[in-house]
Symmetry: C2
Subunit: 254 residues, 2 copies
Amino acid sequence: MRNILMTIEYDGTNYHGWQRQKNALSIQQLIEESIEKVTGIRARLIGSGRTDTGVHALGQRANFKTETNIPVGRIPLALNSSLPPDIRIINAVEVHPDFHARYDVVGKKYRYRIFNRSIPSAVFRNYSCFIPVKLDIESMEEAAGYIIGRRDFSSFCSSGSMVRSRTRNVQMLEFETKGCIIDMSIMADGFLYNMVRIIAGTLVEVGKGNLSPEEIKTILDKRDRRCAGPTMPPQGLFLEEVYYRGILDTPGTM
Amino acid sequence: MRNILMTIEYDGTNYHGWQRQKNALSIQQLIEESIEKVTGIRARLIGSGRTDTGVHALGQRANFKTETNIPVGRIPLALNSSLPPDIRIINAVEVHPDFHARYDVVGKKYRYRIFNRSIPSAVFRNYSCFIPVKLDIESMEEAAGYIIGRRDFSSFCSSGSMVRSRTRNVQMLEFETKGCIIDMSIMADGFLYNMVRIIAGTLVEVGKGNLSPEEIKTILDKRDRRCAGPTMPPQGLFLEEVYYRGILDTPGTM
Protein backbone atom coordinates (compact mmCIF):
# COMPACT_ATOMS: atom_id res chain seq x y z
CA MET A 1 0.00 0.00 0.00
CA ARG A 2 1.28 3.47 -0.87
CA ASN A 3 0.55 6.37 1.41
CA ILE A 4 -0.12 9.65 -0.44
CA LEU A 5 -0.06 13.08 1.19
CA MET A 6 -1.79 15.83 -0.75
CA THR A 7 -1.89 19.63 -0.41
CA ILE A 8 -5.35 20.97 -1.19
CA GLU A 9 -6.73 24.42 -1.93
CA TYR A 10 -10.46 25.05 -1.70
CA ASP A 11 -13.01 27.80 -1.73
CA GLY A 12 -15.27 26.87 1.19
CA THR A 13 -18.17 29.13 0.11
CA ASN A 14 -20.31 26.36 -1.37
CA TYR A 15 -19.51 23.51 1.05
CA HIS A 16 -20.56 22.34 4.46
CA GLY A 17 -16.97 22.27 5.60
CA TRP A 18 -14.25 19.68 5.22
CA GLN A 19 -15.73 16.68 7.01
CA ARG A 20 -17.91 14.10 5.31
CA GLN A 21 -21.48 14.04 6.62
CA LYS A 22 -24.93 12.87 5.65
CA ASN A 23 -27.23 15.17 3.63
CA ALA A 24 -24.63 17.93 3.13
CA LEU A 25 -21.86 18.34 0.60
CA SER A 26 -18.35 18.33 2.04
CA ILE A 27 -14.90 18.73 0.53
CA GLN A 28 -13.72 15.40 1.96
CA GLN A 29 -16.58 13.55 0.28
CA LEU A 30 -15.88 15.07 -3.14
CA ILE A 31 -12.17 14.23 -2.97
CA GLU A 32 -12.88 10.68 -1.77
CA GLU A 33 -15.31 10.22 -4.68
CA SER A 34 -12.71 11.60 -7.05
CA ILE A 35 -10.07 9.15 -5.73
CA GLU A 36 -12.50 6.26 -6.24
CA LYS A 37 -13.34 7.42 -9.75
CA VAL A 38 -9.70 7.82 -10.76
CA THR A 39 -8.14 4.76 -9.05
CA GLY A 40 -11.19 2.49 -9.11
CA ILE A 41 -10.70 1.80 -5.38
CA ARG A 42 -12.41 3.42 -2.39
CA ALA A 43 -10.09 5.24 -0.01
CA ARG A 44 -10.52 7.01 3.28
CA LEU A 45 -9.06 10.49 3.23
CA ILE A 46 -7.50 11.70 6.50
CA GLY A 47 -7.44 15.49 6.73
CA SER A 48 -5.08 17.46 8.98
CA GLY A 49 -8.22 18.68 10.71
CA ARG A 50 -11.71 19.91 9.93
CA THR A 51 -12.62 23.28 8.56
CA ASP A 52 -16.13 24.69 9.09
CA THR A 53 -18.73 25.68 6.50
CA GLY A 54 -17.51 28.69 4.52
CA VAL A 55 -13.89 28.45 5.70
CA HIS A 56 -11.27 28.36 2.93
CA ALA A 57 -7.97 26.53 2.60
CA LEU A 58 -4.90 27.44 0.59
CA GLY A 59 -2.85 24.57 2.00
CA GLN A 60 -5.05 21.96 3.68
CA ARG A 61 -3.34 18.57 3.83
CA ALA A 62 -4.74 15.06 3.75
CA ASN A 63 -3.41 11.53 3.20
CA PHE A 64 -4.88 8.32 1.86
CA LYS A 65 -3.62 4.78 1.32
CA THR A 66 -3.97 3.26 -2.11
CA GLU A 67 -2.91 0.36 -4.33
CA THR A 68 -3.03 2.52 -7.45
CA ASN A 69 0.07 2.67 -9.61
CA ILE A 70 -0.59 6.19 -10.90
CA PRO A 71 2.73 8.07 -10.49
CA VAL A 72 2.46 10.40 -7.50
CA GLY A 73 3.28 13.44 -9.66
CA ARG A 74 0.23 12.71 -11.82
CA ILE A 75 -2.22 12.48 -8.92
CA PRO A 76 -3.06 16.21 -8.72
CA LEU A 77 -3.95 16.41 -12.42
CA ALA A 78 -5.85 13.11 -12.33
CA LEU A 79 -8.00 14.05 -9.34
CA ASN A 80 -8.51 17.66 -10.46
CA SER A 81 -10.04 16.40 -13.69
CA SER A 82 -12.98 15.00 -11.72
CA LEU A 83 -13.21 17.72 -9.05
CA PRO A 84 -15.17 20.99 -9.27
CA PRO A 85 -12.99 24.10 -9.91
CA ASP A 86 -13.40 25.35 -6.33
CA ILE A 87 -11.39 22.35 -5.06
CA ARG A 88 -7.84 21.84 -6.39
CA ILE A 89 -5.20 19.29 -5.44
CA ILE A 90 -2.05 21.41 -5.70
CA ASN A 91 0.56 18.83 -4.70
CA ALA A 92 0.99 15.14 -3.87
CA VAL A 93 3.96 13.28 -2.35
CA GLU A 94 4.48 9.70 -1.21
CA VAL A 95 5.06 9.41 2.53
CA HIS A 96 5.99 6.71 5.08
CA PRO A 97 3.26 4.03 5.53
CA ASP A 98 2.76 5.15 9.15
CA PHE A 99 2.29 8.83 8.30
CA HIS A 100 -1.03 10.24 9.54
CA ALA A 101 -2.15 13.71 8.34
CA ARG A 102 -3.89 14.53 11.63
CA TYR A 103 -1.74 12.88 14.33
CA ASP A 104 1.54 13.99 12.78
CA VAL A 105 0.74 17.72 12.54
CA VAL A 106 3.44 19.80 14.27
CA GLY A 107 1.96 23.19 13.42
CA LYS A 108 -0.52 25.16 11.36
CA LYS A 109 -0.78 28.64 9.97
CA TYR A 110 -4.07 30.47 9.48
CA ARG A 111 -5.00 33.84 8.08
CA TYR A 112 -8.05 35.84 9.12
CA ARG A 113 -8.99 38.58 6.67
CA ILE A 114 -10.96 41.65 7.76
CA PHE A 115 -12.46 44.15 5.33
CA ASN A 116 -12.45 47.42 7.27
CA ARG A 117 -14.50 50.06 5.45
CA SER A 118 -17.90 51.67 5.96
CA ILE A 119 -19.36 49.76 2.96
CA PRO A 120 -18.97 45.98 2.49
CA SER A 121 -16.85 44.70 -0.39
CA ALA A 122 -18.58 43.30 -3.48
CA VAL A 123 -15.51 41.42 -4.74
CA PHE A 124 -14.23 40.09 -1.40
CA ARG A 125 -17.61 39.46 0.28
CA ASN A 126 -17.00 35.69 0.53
CA TYR A 127 -13.30 35.99 1.35
CA SER A 128 -13.22 38.45 4.24
CA CYS A 129 -15.21 39.60 7.26
CA PHE A 130 -16.76 43.04 6.96
CA ILE A 131 -16.13 45.36 9.92
CA PRO A 132 -17.52 48.89 9.37
CA VAL A 133 -15.99 50.44 12.53
CA LYS A 134 -12.47 51.79 11.97
CA LEU A 135 -10.06 49.50 13.85
CA ASP A 136 -7.00 50.66 15.77
CA ILE A 137 -4.33 48.26 14.50
CA GLU A 138 -1.67 49.45 16.95
CA SER A 139 -3.68 48.39 19.98
CA MET A 140 -4.56 45.09 18.24
CA GLU A 141 -0.84 44.47 17.73
CA GLU A 142 -0.20 45.28 21.39
CA ALA A 143 -2.95 42.85 22.40
CA ALA A 144 -1.44 40.18 20.13
CA GLY A 145 1.67 40.28 22.33
CA TYR A 146 -0.38 38.75 25.18
CA ILE A 147 -1.59 35.89 22.97
CA ILE A 148 1.83 34.82 21.71
CA GLY A 149 3.47 32.06 23.76
CA ARG A 150 2.60 28.71 25.35
CA ARG A 151 -0.66 29.29 27.20
CA ASP A 152 -3.94 27.73 28.25
CA PHE A 153 -6.39 28.92 25.59
CA SER A 154 -9.61 27.67 27.27
CA SER A 155 -11.09 31.18 26.93
CA PHE A 156 -10.51 30.97 23.18
CA CYS A 157 -12.15 27.60 22.58
CA SER A 158 -15.79 26.91 21.71
CA SER A 159 -17.59 24.67 24.18
CA GLY A 160 -18.16 21.06 23.22
CA SER A 161 -14.48 20.53 22.48
CA MET A 162 -13.27 17.31 24.11
CA VAL A 163 -9.51 17.77 23.99
CA ARG A 164 -7.28 16.66 26.88
CA SER A 165 -5.17 19.79 27.08
CA ARG A 166 -6.09 23.32 26.13
CA THR A 167 -2.50 24.52 26.20
CA ARG A 168 -1.16 25.60 22.84
CA ASN A 169 1.96 27.43 21.73
CA VAL A 170 1.20 30.44 19.53
CA GLN A 171 4.52 31.10 17.79
CA MET A 172 3.46 33.99 15.57
CA LEU A 173 0.58 36.46 15.47
CA GLU A 174 0.93 39.38 13.07
CA PHE A 175 -1.16 41.99 11.30
CA GLU A 176 -0.63 43.20 7.77
CA THR A 177 -2.76 45.98 6.27
CA LYS A 178 -3.23 46.99 2.65
CA GLY A 179 -5.92 49.56 1.92
CA CYS A 180 -9.09 48.39 3.70
CA ILE A 181 -7.81 44.84 4.10
CA ILE A 182 -6.42 43.77 7.47
CA ASP A 183 -4.86 40.31 7.54
CA MET A 184 -4.18 38.54 10.82
CA SER A 185 -1.65 35.72 10.43
CA ILE A 186 -1.33 33.20 13.22
CA MET A 187 0.92 30.17 13.61
CA ALA A 188 0.79 27.62 16.44
CA ASP A 189 1.63 24.00 17.22
CA GLY A 190 -2.11 23.36 17.16
CA PHE A 191 -5.45 25.13 17.46
CA LEU A 192 -8.52 24.49 19.60
CA TYR A 193 -12.01 24.51 18.09
CA ASN A 194 -12.79 28.03 16.75
CA MET A 195 -9.59 29.35 18.36
CA VAL A 196 -8.53 31.54 15.41
CA ARG A 197 -12.01 33.01 14.97
CA ILE A 198 -12.34 33.77 18.70
CA ILE A 199 -8.85 35.33 18.87
CA ALA A 200 -9.76 37.46 15.83
CA GLY A 201 -13.08 38.43 17.42
CA THR A 202 -11.39 39.40 20.69
CA LEU A 203 -8.66 41.43 18.97
CA VAL A 204 -11.37 43.20 16.94
CA GLU A 205 -12.97 44.21 20.27
CA VAL A 206 -9.59 45.69 21.19
CA GLY A 207 -9.40 47.44 17.80
CA LYS A 208 -12.85 48.95 18.40
CA GLY A 209 -11.76 50.21 21.81
CA ASN A 210 -14.18 47.95 23.70
CA LEU A 211 -11.29 46.12 25.39
CA SER A 212 -7.83 47.34 26.35
CA PRO A 213 -4.83 45.31 25.14
CA GLU A 214 -3.96 44.39 28.76
CA GLU A 215 -7.39 42.80 29.28
CA ILE A 216 -6.28 39.91 27.04
CA LYS A 217 -4.14 38.75 29.98
CA THR A 218 -7.19 38.68 32.27
CA ILE A 219 -9.28 36.87 29.63
CA LEU A 220 -6.60 34.17 29.30
CA ASP A 221 -6.36 33.80 33.10
CA LYS A 222 -10.13 33.30 33.49
CA ARG A 223 -10.08 30.18 31.25
CA ASP A 224 -13.71 30.92 30.43
CA ARG A 225 -15.05 31.23 26.88
CA ARG A 226 -17.59 33.83 27.97
CA CYS A 227 -14.83 36.34 28.81
CA ALA A 228 -13.44 36.50 25.25
CA GLY A 229 -14.91 38.29 22.22
CA PRO A 230 -17.30 36.82 19.65
CA THR A 231 -16.47 34.03 17.20
CA MET A 232 -15.84 35.79 13.88
CA PRO A 233 -17.70 34.55 10.78
CA PRO A 234 -16.14 31.75 8.72
CA GLN A 235 -15.64 33.49 5.36
CA GLY A 236 -12.63 35.49 6.61
CA LEU A 237 -10.72 32.36 7.63
CA PHE A 238 -8.06 30.66 5.49
CA LEU A 239 -6.07 27.58 6.49
CA GLU A 240 -2.75 28.53 4.91
CA GLU A 241 -0.24 25.86 5.84
CA VAL A 242 0.02 22.59 7.75
CA TYR A 243 3.46 21.58 8.98
CA TYR A 244 4.94 18.09 9.39
CA ARG A 245 8.40 17.02 10.44
CA GLY A 246 10.64 16.26 7.48
CA ILE A 247 8.05 17.16 4.85
CA LEU A 248 8.59 20.23 2.72
CA ASP A 249 5.88 22.87 2.73
CA THR A 250 4.07 23.72 -0.45
CA PRO A 251 2.49 26.91 0.78
CA GLY A 252 -0.57 28.41 -0.88
CA THR A 253 -0.78 31.99 -2.03
CA MET A 254 -2.87 34.85 -0.76
CA MET B 1 -31.82 68.67 -10.82
CA ARG B 2 -28.94 67.32 -8.75
CA ASN B 3 -26.10 65.46 -10.43
CA ILE B 4 -24.76 62.55 -8.38
CA LEU B 5 -21.41 60.83 -9.05
CA MET B 6 -21.01 57.40 -7.49
CA THR B 7 -18.04 55.08 -6.99
CA ILE B 8 -19.05 51.45 -7.52
CA GLU B 9 -17.43 48.13 -6.71
CA TYR B 10 -18.67 44.97 -8.39
CA ASP B 11 -17.85 41.33 -8.85
CA GLY B 12 -18.38 40.84 -12.59
CA THR B 13 -18.58 37.02 -12.40
CA ASN B 14 -22.36 36.76 -12.64
CA TYR B 15 -23.09 39.66 -15.01
CA HIS B 16 -23.02 40.33 -18.71
CA GLY B 17 -20.84 43.35 -18.19
CA TRP B 18 -21.63 46.92 -17.26
CA GLN B 19 -23.84 48.03 -20.11
CA ARG B 20 -27.61 47.60 -20.12
CA GLN B 21 -28.82 45.23 -22.83
CA LYS B 22 -31.81 43.11 -23.71
CA ASN B 23 -32.06 39.50 -22.45
CA ALA B 24 -28.93 39.66 -20.29
CA LEU B 25 -28.35 40.96 -16.78
CA SER B 26 -26.02 43.95 -16.53
CA ILE B 27 -24.68 45.98 -13.63
CA GLN B 28 -26.00 49.23 -15.11
CA GLN B 29 -29.54 47.83 -15.27
CA LEU B 30 -29.52 46.67 -11.64
CA ILE B 31 -28.25 50.03 -10.38
CA GLU B 32 -30.79 51.94 -12.52
CA GLU B 33 -33.58 49.74 -11.11
CA SER B 34 -32.28 50.34 -7.61
CA ILE B 35 -32.28 54.14 -8.17
CA GLU B 36 -35.88 53.96 -9.41
CA LYS B 37 -36.92 51.82 -6.44
CA VAL B 38 -35.27 54.12 -3.89
CA THR B 39 -36.09 57.55 -5.39
CA GLY B 40 -39.32 56.63 -7.14
CA ILE B 41 -38.02 58.25 -10.34
CA ARG B 42 -36.33 56.63 -13.34
CA ALA B 43 -32.78 57.80 -14.01
CA ARG B 44 -30.24 57.12 -16.72
CA LEU B 45 -26.89 56.06 -15.28
CA ILE B 46 -23.82 57.23 -17.21
CA GLY B 47 -20.82 54.98 -16.55
CA SER B 48 -17.19 56.06 -17.06
CA GLY B 49 -17.06 53.31 -19.67
CA ARG B 50 -18.17 49.74 -20.22
CA THR B 51 -16.64 46.67 -18.68
CA ASP B 52 -17.07 43.28 -20.36
CA THR B 53 -18.71 40.12 -18.99
CA GLY B 54 -16.69 38.75 -16.07
CA VAL B 55 -14.59 41.91 -15.60
CA HIS B 56 -14.57 43.33 -12.06
CA ALA B 57 -14.48 46.89 -10.74
CA LEU B 58 -13.15 48.22 -7.46
CA GLY B 59 -13.72 51.84 -8.45
CA GLN B 60 -16.05 52.15 -11.43
CA ARG B 61 -17.72 55.56 -11.57
CA ALA B 62 -21.11 56.64 -12.87
CA ASN B 63 -23.36 59.70 -12.57
CA PHE B 64 -27.11 60.29 -12.77
CA LYS B 65 -29.40 63.27 -12.50
CA THR B 66 -32.18 63.18 -9.98
CA GLU B 67 -34.83 65.28 -8.21
CA THR B 68 -34.60 63.17 -5.07
CA ASN B 69 -33.90 64.96 -1.79
CA ILE B 70 -32.11 62.00 -0.18
CA PRO B 71 -28.88 63.46 1.29
CA VAL B 72 -25.94 62.47 -0.93
CA GLY B 73 -24.18 60.74 1.97
CA ARG B 74 -27.16 58.41 2.39
CA ILE B 75 -27.29 57.34 -1.26
CA PRO B 76 -24.78 54.44 -0.99
CA LEU B 77 -26.66 52.83 1.92
CA ALA B 78 -30.06 53.44 0.30
CA LEU B 79 -29.11 51.90 -3.05
CA ASN B 80 -27.10 49.05 -1.50
CA SER B 81 -30.20 47.94 0.41
CA SER B 82 -31.85 47.01 -2.89
CA LEU B 83 -28.75 45.76 -4.75
CA PRO B 84 -27.31 42.21 -4.68
CA PRO B 85 -24.17 41.81 -2.49
CA ASP B 86 -21.88 41.52 -5.53
CA ILE B 87 -22.62 45.18 -6.44
CA ARG B 88 -21.86 47.88 -3.86
CA ILE B 89 -22.08 51.66 -4.11
CA ILE B 90 -19.06 52.69 -2.06
CA ASN B 91 -19.31 56.48 -2.36
CA ALA B 92 -21.53 59.27 -3.71
CA VAL B 93 -20.82 62.98 -4.16
CA GLU B 94 -22.79 65.82 -5.71
CA VAL B 95 -21.11 67.27 -8.81
CA HIS B 96 -21.60 70.19 -11.21
CA PRO B 97 -24.78 69.88 -13.37
CA ASP B 98 -22.62 69.59 -16.52
CA PHE B 99 -20.43 66.80 -15.18
CA HIS B 100 -20.43 63.68 -17.38
CA ALA B 101 -18.88 60.45 -16.05
CA ARG B 102 -17.68 59.35 -19.51
CA TYR B 103 -16.74 62.60 -21.30
CA ASP B 104 -14.93 64.05 -18.28
CA VAL B 105 -12.60 61.11 -17.61
CA VAL B 106 -8.95 62.25 -17.49
CA GLY B 107 -7.48 58.85 -16.67
CA LYS B 108 -8.10 55.31 -15.49
CA LYS B 109 -6.19 52.65 -13.63
CA TYR B 110 -6.63 48.93 -14.21
CA ARG B 111 -5.13 45.85 -12.65
CA TYR B 112 -4.65 42.54 -14.44
CA ARG B 113 -4.09 39.61 -12.11
CA ILE B 114 -2.25 36.48 -13.24
CA PHE B 115 -2.13 33.27 -11.20
CA ASN B 116 1.19 31.69 -12.18
CA ARG B 117 1.40 28.11 -10.89
CA SER B 118 1.17 24.66 -12.44
CA ILE B 119 -2.27 24.06 -10.87
CA PRO B 120 -5.16 26.58 -11.11
CA SER B 121 -6.33 28.34 -7.96
CA ALA B 122 -9.57 27.21 -6.30
CA VAL B 123 -10.03 30.42 -4.31
CA PHE B 124 -8.97 32.93 -6.97
CA ARG B 125 -10.39 31.14 -10.02
CA ASN B 126 -12.85 33.96 -10.81
CA TYR B 127 -10.45 36.77 -9.87
CA SER B 128 -7.30 35.95 -11.84
CA CYS B 129 -6.11 34.40 -15.07
CA PHE B 130 -4.37 31.05 -14.73
CA ILE B 131 -1.03 30.75 -16.54
CA PRO B 132 0.72 27.42 -15.89
CA VAL B 133 4.00 28.32 -17.65
CA LYS B 134 6.50 30.04 -15.35
CA LEU B 135 6.75 33.68 -16.45
CA ASP B 136 9.97 35.71 -16.57
CA ILE B 137 8.90 38.93 -14.83
CA GLU B 138 12.15 40.74 -15.55
CA SER B 139 11.67 40.54 -19.30
CA MET B 140 7.99 41.51 -18.89
CA GLU B 141 9.13 44.61 -16.99
CA GLU B 142 11.63 45.39 -19.72
CA ALA B 143 8.88 45.03 -22.33
CA ALA B 144 6.61 47.31 -20.28
CA GLY B 145 9.15 50.08 -20.83
CA TYR B 146 8.24 50.11 -24.53
CA ILE B 147 4.52 50.45 -23.76
CA ILE B 148 4.85 53.43 -21.42
CA GLY B 149 4.45 56.81 -23.11
CA ARG B 150 2.18 58.58 -25.62
CA ARG B 151 1.82 56.15 -28.52
CA ASP B 152 -0.52 54.86 -31.20
CA PHE B 153 -1.97 51.68 -29.67
CA SER B 154 -3.76 50.39 -32.80
CA SER B 155 -1.98 47.03 -32.37
CA PHE B 156 -3.48 46.76 -28.89
CA CYS B 157 -7.09 47.47 -29.80
CA SER B 158 -9.78 44.95 -30.75
CA SER B 159 -11.30 45.51 -34.18
CA GLY B 160 -14.73 47.09 -34.38
CA SER B 161 -13.65 50.03 -32.26
CA MET B 162 -14.80 53.28 -33.88
CA VAL B 163 -12.65 55.81 -32.03
CA ARG B 164 -11.15 58.83 -33.82
CA SER B 165 -7.64 58.54 -32.44
CA ARG B 166 -5.81 55.47 -31.23
CA THR B 167 -3.14 57.46 -29.48
CA ARG B 168 -3.12 57.08 -25.72
CA ASN B 169 -0.68 58.08 -23.00
CA VAL B 170 0.29 55.17 -20.73
CA GLN B 171 1.65 56.89 -17.64
CA MET B 172 2.36 53.80 -15.53
CA LEU B 173 2.78 50.09 -16.14
CA GLU B 174 4.13 48.05 -13.26
CA PHE B 175 4.32 44.48 -12.04
CA GLU B 176 4.00 43.33 -8.45
CA THR B 177 4.39 39.68 -7.45
CA LYS B 178 3.38 37.93 -4.26
CA GLY B 179 3.70 34.16 -4.21
CA CYS B 180 2.03 32.86 -7.40
CA ILE B 181 0.13 36.11 -7.98
CA ILE B 182 1.44 38.54 -10.55
CA ASP B 183 -0.39 41.88 -10.71
CA MET B 184 0.02 44.19 -13.67
CA SER B 185 -1.06 47.76 -12.85
CA ILE B 186 -1.59 50.17 -15.71
CA MET B 187 -2.64 53.81 -15.75
CA ALA B 188 -3.40 55.90 -18.83
CA ASP B 189 -5.38 58.93 -19.94
CA GLY B 190 -7.73 56.50 -21.66
CA PHE B 191 -7.90 52.94 -22.97
CA LEU B 192 -8.96 51.47 -26.31
CA TYR B 193 -11.30 48.48 -26.48
CA ASN B 194 -9.60 45.43 -24.88
CA MET B 195 -6.34 47.38 -24.62
CA VAL B 196 -5.42 46.20 -21.10
CA ARG B 197 -6.21 42.57 -21.90
CA ILE B 198 -4.18 42.68 -25.13
CA ILE B 199 -1.22 44.40 -23.44
CA ALA B 200 -1.36 41.74 -20.70
CA GLY B 201 -1.56 38.96 -23.32
CA THR B 202 1.40 40.37 -25.23
CA LEU B 203 3.53 40.81 -22.11
CA VAL B 204 2.67 37.23 -21.10
CA GLU B 205 4.09 36.13 -24.49
CA VAL B 206 7.27 37.98 -23.52
CA GLY B 207 7.22 36.31 -20.09
CA LYS B 208 6.93 32.89 -21.75
CA GLY B 209 9.91 33.69 -24.00
CA ASN B 210 7.81 33.67 -27.20
CA LEU B 211 8.56 37.36 -27.83
CA SER B 212 11.60 39.44 -26.93
CA PRO B 213 11.00 42.69 -25.00
CA GLU B 214 12.30 44.70 -27.99
CA GLU B 215 9.64 43.20 -30.28
CA ILE B 216 7.02 45.33 -28.47
CA LYS B 217 8.46 48.31 -30.37
CA THR B 218 7.90 46.55 -33.72
CA ILE B 219 4.38 45.50 -32.70
CA LEU B 220 3.51 49.12 -31.86
CA ASP B 221 4.98 50.35 -35.15
CA LYS B 222 2.92 47.89 -37.23
CA ARG B 223 -0.38 49.34 -35.93
CA ASP B 224 -1.96 45.96 -36.63
CA ARG B 225 -3.91 44.00 -34.01
CA ARG B 226 -2.71 40.70 -35.51
CA CYS B 227 0.90 41.45 -34.49
CA ALA B 228 0.17 41.61 -30.74
CA GLY B 229 -0.50 38.74 -28.33
CA PRO B 230 -3.89 37.26 -27.44
CA THR B 231 -6.66 39.05 -25.54
CA MET B 232 -6.45 37.72 -21.99
CA PRO B 233 -9.64 36.37 -20.34
CA PRO B 234 -11.90 38.84 -18.48
CA GLN B 235 -11.78 37.42 -14.94
CA GLY B 236 -8.24 38.74 -14.31
CA LEU B 237 -9.24 42.34 -15.06
CA PHE B 238 -10.15 44.92 -12.41
CA LEU B 239 -11.09 48.54 -13.10
CA GLU B 240 -9.42 50.12 -10.09
CA GLU B 241 -9.82 53.88 -10.38
CA VAL B 242 -11.33 56.49 -12.66
CA TYR B 243 -9.88 59.99 -12.47
CA TYR B 244 -11.64 63.34 -12.95
CA ARG B 245 -10.30 66.89 -12.61
CA GLY B 246 -11.04 68.37 -9.20
CA ILE B 247 -12.78 65.28 -7.84
CA LEU B 248 -11.11 63.36 -5.07
CA ASP B 249 -10.43 59.67 -5.66
CA THR B 250 -12.04 57.07 -3.46
CA PRO B 251 -9.90 54.17 -4.53
CA GLY B 252 -10.96 50.58 -4.09
CA THR B 253 -8.83 47.97 -2.38
CA MET B 254 -7.14 44.90 -3.78
